[in-house]
């Protein structure tokens, strides 16, 4: 899709949409300063403060109190991964979009990726893709519940799980999750 020899990095935008209610949203954002790179450095603390002040400008004190976590930050490229509750996604995203300047330098936030997280009791991270049907998801949950009950009731977990024929793939999958 990208033409060869392109100097700029691909702005390939990815959006994963979840129809289930999910707990957290992850945003991959980059801070762009245009042609002239500023003389000052933007540390992780500065970056976080920038986000909070953007939220405060647009949504007030209540918006500034929105819990946003900077999970990853690269000082050279100014690209970060943010995590926010799904209820606060619109607030955060709009605040980042409308930010115009930082320390009298014109800048812009570019949201490169936006991912929803579906969290379940095992605390794992996976995406519900659009092609998962409702019946498929129900079956998945039933299986999870079944094996969870099996796990609780008897001590020899691994042997029981592996010995079942025809469900080996699912078992391995469950084992991976538990690890």
């Amino acid at each position: 899709m990208n033409s060869p020899g392109e100097e700029r990095e691909a702005a390939a935008y990815e959006r994963h949409v979840s129809r289930n209610s999910c707990l957290y949203h992850y945003l991959k954002v980059g801070l762009e300063f245009g042609e002239t790179r500023p003389a000052f450095k933007v540390s992780a603390a500065h970056f976080k403060q920038l986000i909070v002040s953007a939220l405060k400008d647009l949504h007030g004190e209540f918006g500034a109190a929105l819990p946003v976590d900077v999970l990853r930050y690269e000082e050279e490229t100014l690209i970060a991964t943010l995590r926010v509750r799904s209820s606060g996604l619109v607030k955060l995203w709009s605040a980042l979009t409308l930010l115009g300047s930082y320390q009298n330098q014109k800048c812009a936030f570019r949201v490169m990726q936006d991912k929803a997280e579906g969290s379940i009791s095992l605390g794992c991270l996976f995406n519900w893709n659009d092609h998962w049907s409702r019946s498929g998801r129900t079956m998945y949950w039933i299986l999870i519940l079944y094996f969870f009950l099996q796990f609780c009731s008897c001590g020899k977990t691994h042997q029981n799980v592996i010995s079942l024929d025809g469900r080996k793939e699912t078992n391995l999958c469950i084992l991976d999750l538990q690890m």
Partner: protein, 230 residues
């Protein structure tokens, strides 16, 4: 993947700035952008200038990120009207407005707003939401199709299409409406502009019933029914 359109890139004489603006728009994923020429008619009739030539700007337009096609650049004219006499240019097919792909109007009074909605032959009606309006506008009764555009003068002022769609949620639009504001509705405006340029009259042909035709063959030439072209 949806086609994203930004219908307002302020036209400047600075070619380099314009080029970097359009390159950024292509990089962000916009398939079509419109160069906006703003004209304010005050008192005496002003001449509406011809649009800047697009082919001069870019011998080979930049490729849109995510698609293999180059970005499409169209021209747009925005007329700021504060008096009813200014609308004459926009009412009929005026020679000035025909060279632009999209024609937009920015009414300054409520009456003009109504006129623009009902009678004027324009593609877009602009509302300046930054200033407090002297009138309270109500959405027209016909499906209020809303579009959002950047009015960007510098490449850093541009925002990605999904960012704009998210802002639409802040404005009270539904998620579908917000995304349509950057894609579908813009495309509809572009097509409306195209029809305004091309469709001046319609010629339709009616298929004659075969029985009547056979009868005509028998009669001598002078007594045959006259066709529409005569």
């Amino acid at each position: 993947m949806a086609v994203f359109v930004d219908l307002n890139i302020v036209n400047t004489t600075d070619r380099k700035r314009l080029q970097s603006l359009i390159e950024t728009a292509a990089h962000l994923g916009y398939s079509t952008v419109a160069l906006n020429h703003v004209v304010e008619l005050q008192g005496k009739r002003q001449e509406i200038a011809k649009p800047t030539s697009v082919s001069e700007l870019f011998p080979s337009p930049p490729i849109v990120q995510g698609r293999s096609k180059p970005i499409k650049i169209v021209t747009r004219l925005t007329v700021i009207v504060s008096d009813a006499s200014h609308c004459n240019d926009l009412r009929s097919t005026s020679p000035h407005t025909r060279s632009y792909d999209i024609v937009a109007v920015l009414p300054k009074t409520e009456k003009l707003f109504h006129v623009a909605c009902m009678t004027l032959d324009v593609d877009l009606i602009c509302i300046n939401v930054v200033e407090k309006q002297p009138y309270h506008f109500r959405r027209p009764s016909v499906n209020g199709n809303i579009i959002m555009s950047s009015a960007a003068e510098r490449s850093l002022e541009l925002r990605g299409p999904y960012d704009i769609a998210n802002l639409g949620l802040l404005f009270g639009l539904s998620e579908g409406d917000a995304k349509a504001a950057v894609s579908t509705n813009c495309r509809a405006a572009l097509l409306h502009g195209e029809t305004r340029k091309t469709a001046l009259g319609v010629i339709y042909t009616v298929r004659k019933a075969p029985a009547v035709e056979e009868k005509d063959e028998e009669r001598p030439l002078s007594k045959r029914a006259k066709t529409k072209s005569d």
